[in-house]
């Protein structure tokens, strides 16, 4: 049973650039949530996708956007990168009616220089 997978593992970008991170949910799951984890902090909720639509959003600017595909996989896009966007980006998947029990992927480490 494949768990949550994310790509790429690591990424280095320059300020002002754009980045796309990808996530495949655990088999059977239909809901994907994205989190940002800064160094020494807990994960912070960015947004959640269900049925290809953004269902909830945390306190992140519009530079952060996402997409969910018919196969439930998801992308996180960040435009106009800032140094402060450097973090571990975690994807979590769940069943729509049990989204409080989320299964996390290993994350993508983004470094903005």
């Amino acid at each position: 049973d494949a768990g949550v997978t994310q790509s790429p593992t690591h990424l280095i970008k320059t300020r002002g650039q754009q980045v796309t991170l990808r996530c495949s949910p655990k088999s059977g799951h239909d809901t994907v949530s994205w989190y940002q984890q800064a160094l020494g902090q807990g994960p912070q909720f960015i947004f959640q996708y269900y049925e290809e639509e953004e269902r909830q959003r945390g306190n992140f600017p519009d530079r952060f956007s996402g997409h969910q595909f018919p196969n439930y996989s998801s992308e996180l896009n960040v435009n106009a990168l800032l140094l402060g966007d450097s973090a571990l980006y975690l994807c979590a998947s769940s069943f729509a009616d049990r989204t409080y029990e989320q299964y996390f992927g290993p994350g993508t480490r983004l470094t903005v220089t």
């Binding site: 949530s33 807990g42 994960p43 909720f45 909830q56 989204t99 029990e101 996390f104």
Partner: protein, 115 residues
């Protein structure tokens, strides 16, 4: 505004003894609580959860206690094993109505089990 707080950044416990990790929250609307364990270079792994209608939930060596009046929960691990060494995150969810279950995490406690 840190709604979920883990005030101990680190904890060291002798192998075989009890490990107690604490978590406090400020939002009385939280009604589901979870503990996640995280190893380096891996995503958080779900460990155990508790609903606000209960005050205790047990799963093998892991027990979570919830004190709603104090807005406090704790995770007990007994006996502690070297493989328990990891960062532990407490997380909370607002009501379980469909579409409103995002998780709010604490900052984590690094547990080190000393052989």
């Amino acid at each position: 505004d840190q709604q979920v707080k883990q005030n101990s950044p680190s904890l060291s416990v002798q192998e075989g003894r009890i490990s107690i990790l604490n978590c406090d929250y400020t939002n009385s609307m939280f009604d589901y609580f979870l503990w996640y364990k995280k190893y380096p270079a891996e995503g958080p792994t779900f460990l155990i959860s508790i609903s606000s209608i209960k005050d205790k939930n047990e799963d093998g060596r892991f027990t979570v206690f919830l004190n709603k009046s104090a807005k406090h929960l704790s995770l007990h691990i007994v006996p502690s094993q070297p493989g328990d060494s990891a960062v532990y995150f407490c997380a909370a969810s607002l009501d379980l109505n469909f579409g409103n279950e995002k998780l709010t995490f604490g900052t984590g406690t690094r547990l080190t089990i000393i052989p």
